[in-house]
């Protein structure tokens, strides 16, 4: 038997193994928690007033206190990742995380951040595809290719 099959390295792109959180991108908009069909995303936050040195007035931002995904409920539909407007959630192909206690299947912020290290780079576009929108926006003189 092939022991390397037990790892996630050989899996095709966009394989759904576990969900990773990039906390810096999260604005606590709550869309993922609201759209999740299983109600398995737990978010707690509070508001914080920030006065930047050169800002004209103080601004209020949301501070994330808790972001947890309960993988005992998760059905890996990906709605949270699709709906996130700020690209804070990512798919990772890792699948080997069984637990002896069901509470261990609720991954908190730190563990979700650790999964970010296993998120593969996005697969390349097909040959002949128009360039990504980010590249088009960066060089407006190039013009639309498709």
């Amino acid at each position: 038997m092939n022991g390397s099959d037990l790892d996630a390295g050989h899996l095709p792109p966009r394989s759904r193994g576990v969900i990773a959180l990039l906390e810096e991108n999260c604005t606590v908009c709550m869309l993922c928690a609201r759209e999740c069909p299983d109600w398995c995303i737990y978010i707690e936050s509070h508001k914080q007033t920030v006065l930047a040195p050169d800002a004209g007035r103080p601004r209020v931002r949301n501070v994330l206190d808790r972001f947890a995904i309960d993988f005992s409920l998760c059905m890996y539909c990906g709605i949270c990742i699709e709906v996130c407007p700020y690209d804070a959630l990512f798919w990772s192909p890792e699948f080997g995380y069984p637990e002896t206690a069901i509470a261990g299947l609720t991954h908190e912020r730190d563990r979700l951040r650790d999964w970010m290290q296993t998120v593969p780079p996005p697969p390349a576009h097909d040959p002949g595809a128009p360039p990504p929108r980010e590249a088009q926006a960066a060089s407006p003189g190039a013009g639309p290719a498709g």
């Binding site: 709550m30 109600w39 978010i43 936050s45």
Partner: protein
């Protein structure tokens, strides 16, 4: 029978039927008293002798619509036969004398919607456990878990967990207005 022949045959044999035809499919709506006549016509005259499924649709105030999907293998013609039973008297004659396969479908429709099929040989629950109360697929049967479980999306962005706001909290999708009762 082809679709066109079906429509013509229905006009002749089932004057009370309202028919609509699409590519390969005919939908026939009949009043309750013509239910068995329509199914007999479908099987014996129209050649739709393959029974696919039978189920119901909760039309709420209008009643319960019972739908059967029949198919003619020879003519590759689909036929949907619909009828409406009133909500206070959801009784319909059983289709089992015509289609043996309707037995289990009617058992399931009975336990899920509460339609009583007169003459059914064994109208007992099929899928629900013993002692289950209510008819789950009716629209007025709410999913209790959605109303009693705390919805993670009920909080607003930036609202702390121990918030004492008296503002009415967001209701999760799938929970009817005013449920659970206080």
């Amino acid at each position: 029978m082809t679709g066109a022949q079906l429509l013509a045959g229905a006009a002749r044999h089932l004057p009370s039927a309202r028919c609509a035809a699409e590519e390969g499919t005919v939908t026939m709506e009949v009043p309750r008293e013509d239910w068995l006549t329509a199914l007999t016509f479908a099987r014996d005259t129209a050649g739709c002798d393959f029974f696919d499924w039978l189920t119901a649709v909760d039309e709420q105030d209008h009643g319960l619509a019972v739908v059967v999907h029949l198919y003619s293998i020879e003519d590759q013609q689909h036929l949907f036969v619909r009828t409406l039973v009133p909500p206070d008297d959801p009784v319909l004659p059983t289709a089992t004398p015509l289609f043996r396969g309707a037995a289990w479908a009617e058992r399931e429709t009975h336990e899920m919607f509460g339609v009583v099929f007169e003459g059914h040989p064994d109208l007992v629950p099929l899928l629900l456990p013993q002692g289950f109360e209510g008819h789950p697929l009716r629209k007025d049967f709410p999913l209790a878990a959605r109303a009693t479980q705390d919805w993670p999306g009920a909080r607003e962005p930036g609202e702390p967990a121990a918030s004492a706001r008296s503002r009415r909290r967001l209701v999760p999708p799938g929970v009817p207005e005013g449920w659970p009762p206080a």
